[in-house]
Structure formats: C-alpha cells, structure tokens
Amino acid sequence: MALHISTGPHLRAKADTQRLMLDVLIALCPATAASIYFYGIKAVLIILVSVAAAVLSEFVWQKLAHKPIRISDLSAAVTGLLLALNLPANVPLWIPLIGSVFAIIIVKQLFGGIGHNFLNPALAARAVLLTSWPSHMTKAYLPLRTLFGSAAATGVDTLASATPLLVPGTTEVRDLFFGNIPGAIGETCKLAILIGLVYLLVRRVISWEIPVVMVGTVALCSWAFGADPLKAVLSGGLLLGACFMATDYVTTPMLKLGHMIYAVGCGLMVALIRQFGNYPEGVTYAILLMNIVTPLLDRALKRKVYGEVKQHG
C-alpha cells in the first residue's frame, strides 16, 4: 500500500485562484452585457481583442520564458476584460491590443507574473493608452440605445463633448444610474456594476470595505466641494474602479486597516483630481497612486501578535 504522506491540512478550502478569478469574470458579466447592449458590435470586438490579446500574450511569454503555463488561472482574462470595459466605444482595435500586451508583459510578467505586479495591469495599461493616444482615449460616445432612459440623446457614433463629469448639472440621476450617458463601454451602467459587486460580496471574493469606503469618501468630498454627492458617485469610472479595480488583491494592502486607509486615499485622490486636476476623471490615477502606496502600508501597519509582551514591544 502506497499512502500519501504530508503535513496538514489534508483537505483545503474549495476556492482556489482559478475559482476566484472565475468569480470576478462572472461578476463582470452584467457590465459586459450592458456594454454590448449600449455599444453593440463595437463593444464585442473591443472585448474579444482585449481578452484574446491578454491571454495569448501571457501564454506566449510563459512559453518563451520556459515557465509553467498558467493561463488557466484566468487572471489574464480578467485583466483583458477589465481593460476592455475601460475603453471608449470607438477606439481602433489596435488600442485594446497594445493595451493588453502592455498590461500582461510589461506590468505583470516583467515583475514576476501573477501576484508580483505592483500596479493593477489593466489600469496601468489604460493610463499608458491615455497619455499616448489621448485623442482616441478621451472621446466618449453616446450609447446606441437607452435603458429606462429619460430624454437622453442617442445616436450611432454620436460624439459627446466629453464625459458627463464636465456637465454634471444637465444629466439626470436615472440616466447616470442606468447608463444612458457617454463613457467607457463598461463603466456607464451602474446597475450592472452593482449587481456584480453584490455577487462578489455574496461569494466572499472581496469584502465591503474598499468599495464602500472609497465611494463614501468621494461622496463626502464632493459634498464638501459643493457638488451633488450622488451624481459624483454615479459619474465616470468611479463605481467600476471601486468595485473591480481598487479591490484587486495583488495591489491592495493585506490588513483590514490597510484596506481602510487605501480606500480613503483612493477616494480622496479621485475627488481632488476631479475638482482641481486637468483631467475630467481621476479614478485610474487615484487607484494607481494608491497601488504604489500599498507596499508602504503593508510595511508600516503591524498587528499586535498574540502573546506579545509589552516590555518587549
């Protein structure tokens, strides 16, 4: 009889990396569906190119670097999908292609692969695309059709002046919530994002602290700046960022207290950039900045170890 021998634990929790990433993909389904509803075939193509480029570049890299092929952990697919949802509808398809390759090769693999990147790959790629091709990246388009809409204008390829952040007074809350506004394809329908958030919370993939504290901070700051906090929360990429990108395990602190500080920092930066910055939208840079602060928070925050005696402390 050949028995296996190991230390404990002999049975493990069900959720492994692949399952967690699959849960994130499932949670992104409503937002993905909404993006296709609002932007049609353009959204489909962006998503396909982005996800395929992310997964393929990870595969090729791991093959060439003689590393174990781990695309089945689905993390590259998550990166590709998140990047796609953060792009406007009319970008040329080489934009998601370059973005995904940059996210996977430069941001993720060059730093050691999954778990070792210090920036969220999708956001870092978006930031690079934004600074490299601002003409493509800053245009926002009105959706093809509306969802429970008020009299918001729709039209094929209608170029809106910019994101509604520049004209907050004129958009109704209902349109902001359901997505009858111009913006990146996956960020406009707040209903879809919130359904995804509820799924992530129920499945315990993430906990409530980061999204709630980040969004709460933005609401509070907007109120302090004299803006409508509800519209501030429902505008731009805040909810998509707070629910799906600020909660990325790899680039957020390990401790709960760290989560709180990180989330307040993210919210504060969003509010400051929106109020005082040149960009209309600050979610990408706010989260990336706090990604950089994460290792410092991990180092600075210490819990009291059980049994630590005061005189030794």
Binding site: H4, I5, S6, A13, I114, Y249, Y306
Partner: protein, 440 residues
C-alpha cells in the same frame, strides 16, 4: 454568550466539518486479537522502559513499562494475554518505536486496582501520584504528561483549569460523544485536577455545535464546586491551547511561555475522564474513544484499547470503501499526522482515524501568492503567514524569527484557506526545525 478568539476558519463548510458522519454514533467498544503498544506515546520525556519479557502472561492494567525520569509515564497492558514480542516497529513517528505486542486472551482479567475513592473527599496530595501511576498524558493529541502539567510552581499563580471540549478539528466526535455519554466522569476528572493543582476555578469549554454535550455537561456540573460550562463559537482552532485560554479568560499566553504563565492549565476532556478513572478506581489509561471515519463503510466512535492496530479499527468499521486508500490520518484533516501504513498502532493520543481516497490525498500544486490576504485574516496568532512563507522559501531564517515564526501554533488555517494552495504551514514547520538545529 458565545466566547471566541479573533481569526480562524470554518473548515469544510459543505461537509459540516465532516462531523455528521459520526456525531450521532454512540461509543462502541471494540477489542482486537492483538495490541502493539509503543513506549513513546508521550512527549517531553524519555520512552518508557519495558519490564516484561516475551512469553510473560500479563493482566489487563498491569504495569508493562516503567516511567523514565520525573516527567516519564508508565505504560500498562491494555488487554490480558501473552507478551508476544518486544521490538522496534514503524509507528506514526519519523523513526521506529519500541513496542510491546500482546496477544489477547479475551478474558479481560484485570490486575487488582486500588483507587482513592470520591474525588471531593480523597487526599488531594495523592491525586497527582495517582495520575502519574495511571500513565495519563494529554489525550487531545499532544501527549504531554498530565501529572507534570498539574505540578505548577506556586510562583506561576495558576488559578484556572480549562477543560477543552472544543473539538474543533474536522471529522472528530470522540470528545463530543464522551461528554454526551459520560459527563460525570469528565466533571469528576476536572474536580480532581482542580483539587490536585489547588485551583478554585474550573471551566468546561465546548463549541456551540455540540448543544447536546453542553446540556449533558451542564447538568453533570450542577452543584459542583467552582465548575462552570462555557459555550464557545464553533470555529477552528478554537481548541488550540492559546486560543481557548484567550476565549475563556481573555488572557494571552506570553510569547514563548506556557499556559501557566497566563494562570491556566488546559486539559482535554478525555484526559479528565481518564483522571477520574485513575483517582476514583485506580484504573490506568488503557483505552480511549477514537472516531474512525472518512472512506470507511460504517464510520463510528470506537472505544479502543491502547495499541490497537489501525487496520483492526478500520475493519471494525466495515473496512475501506475504496480499493486503495490515499491517506490515513491520525487525527483530523487540519493537523492530523499521516500514517505510513495501516498497521501502525493507535496510542493514548489518537482521537481519530480519518481515511481519504486517492483524489482527496493528491497534493495540490503550489502557485504564486496572489496577496488575497486570507491567511492574514485567519491567522489566530496575528502573524503574516504569507510573509513568513516567503522568508522561509528564501531561507531567510533570521528574518523569519524576527517576524515571530516561533509564535506560530502550526494550526494550518493559512494553508487551508490559501487559494494559491501554498504549503505555508509546512514551510514554517520546516524552517522552525532548521532554526532549532542551527541555533539561530
């Protein structure tokens, strides 16, 4: 009010910790043809020294090996019969152990026993010698000599004894059934230990998933001096010594210290029952309740003689349900020890035998840490398991020591919850052995 500690996990939620397989199975005695009794069932002292020879006829409860040194523990025959062999046998440990094999004559003829009588009235100074003479060790798994545990130096100011009835390990119901079926023995044992250690306060701490056991112990404890039942939240590792002390008394054992440094002694409920037998009847520890479960036909809670071969116990439960078992675990699936084969013996500390199939037993591939923070969240000692794992893998033992690696209680919660399937606890355990070897 339910008491608990911060951190921890709820293992195997879909199987309810594996407990339903046996939690309603009454304790059933089983006696095998032969027992093979190891001399090193205890820790913290040299192995016991055999005083019988091959061919000797022994009675049940007869002393067959004497204690070595002040912490040492004697061993008694768990069946009546003939000594068949004394020799080295592969057991659960890394090396072989000296064992006495006795062929059972099924007469169950006991040696003459002389107890101290009622635990409340007997001479308190005679209790610890009686416990030592009965060969009692910690039956929750560790096997620390109980007589030595109860001899606390007066400067430690021990004022509390906690009976550990948490049984937070997966699959096991041995303590649960014992508390439910024999609550008076458990309470008697606690009172004897309290009198022996001159302690006024005794708690029996039980997880809230054993409501029937709580009720049984509560009624048995009614009117007993200084005894209180504490309901604990069902969570792993609620029954770990440091965590149960924290939950019950809100005290913490100082780093590197012993429970006595927090004014506590923690005893397993099975140990308490054995103490009651030793004090009241003078009966040595020769049998215990063991849950035999997992991939066996009829999972059960067996009352087994010390030295029963695993295969005999598994046979008493209808044998394997799989052609080839993958793993046989002495204990639960969180911290249990893997048996090298199914012919090893159960000892005074074997609270469970869990059989896993091939698929369950297959090791999972370790992948990169995704920094999800789950290990940090569940660590009941508030360590950073992910960081310790990285330091261990990089062989940075000095840094690992500075990061409190020695405070780890090896509960496995971090490895259990890790989505990257990292062997965190194993690495910590190995690193600690290296630290001890190299004197870092």
């Amino acid at each position: 009010m339910k008491k608990t500690f911060p951190g921890g996990v709820h293992p195997l939620p879909s199987q309810h910790q594996g407990k339903p397989l046996t939690n309603d199975k009454a304790i059933r005695p089983f006696v095998s043809d032969v027992v093979c009794i190891p001399m090193n069932m205890h820790i913290a002292a040299a192995p016991s020294k055999p005083i019988v020879k091959k061919g000797d006829h022994v009675l049940m409860g007869q002393l067959i090996a004497e204690a070595v040194g002040p912490r040492g523990v004697p061993v008694h025959a768990s069946v009546s019969g003939t000594v068949k062999d004394i020799g080295m046998v592969q057991q659960l440990g890394k090396t072989t152990s000296q064992c006495i094999t006795i062929e059972n004559d099924f007469n169950d003829e006991w040696v003459e026993l002389k107890g101290l009588g009622n635990v409340e009235n007997c001479d308190a100074d005679q209790i610890i010698p009686a416990i030592q003479a009965a060969g009692i060790i910690g039956m929750g798994g560790a096997g620390f000599p109980t007589h030595f545990k109860l001899q606390v130096p007066p400067e430690k100011k021990v004022d509390t004894i906690i009976l550990n009835g948490a049984e937070c390990e997966t699959f096991l119901n041995a303590d649960h059934r014992l508390m439910l079926e024999q609550p008076v023995r458990v309470v008697d044992g606690l009172r004897a230990a309290m009198r022996a250690a001159h302690v006024e306060r005794g708690y029996i701490a039980i997880e809230d998933n054993k409501k029937d056991a709580i009720a049984a112990i509560e009624s048995a404890a009614k009117g007993r001096k200084g005894v209180q039942v504490v309901t604990l939240k069902a969570k792993y590792p609620q029954g770990a010594e440091k965590q149960i002390i924290k939950a019950v008394t809100h005290r913490e054992v100082p780093s590197g210290g012993l429970p006595a440094d927090a004014g506590c002694i923690v005893l397993n409920v099975g140990t308490a029952a054995a103490i009651a037998d030793a004090v009241i009847d003078g009966k040595p520890l020769v049998e215990r309740v063991t849950t035999v479960t997992g991939r066996v036909r009829e999972p059960d809670n067996l009352l087994l003689r010390v030295g029963t071969i695993f295969l005999d116990a598994i046979g008493a439960c209808g044998g394997y349900t799989v052609e080839e078992p993958g793993k046989i675990i002495a204990g639960g699936t969180m911290t249990g020890i893997c048996a090298p084969n199914d012919t090893v013996s159960m000892t005074k500390t074997t609270n469970g035998i869990v059989v896993l199939d091939q698929q369950e037993a297959t090791s999972l591939d370790e992948s990169s840490c995704i920094r999800c923070g789950r290990c940090v969240e569940v660590c009941p000692m508030h360590l950073d398991p992910y960081r310790l794992k990285n330091l261990c893998d990089a062989n940075q033992l000095k840094e690992a020591k500075d990061q409190h690696i020695m405070d780890c209680i090896l509960c496995s919660s971090c490895s259990y919850i890790c989505p990257a399937r990292r062997w965190i606890m194993s690495s910590i355990k190995n690193a600690r052995e290296l630290i001890a070897q190299r004197g870092i």
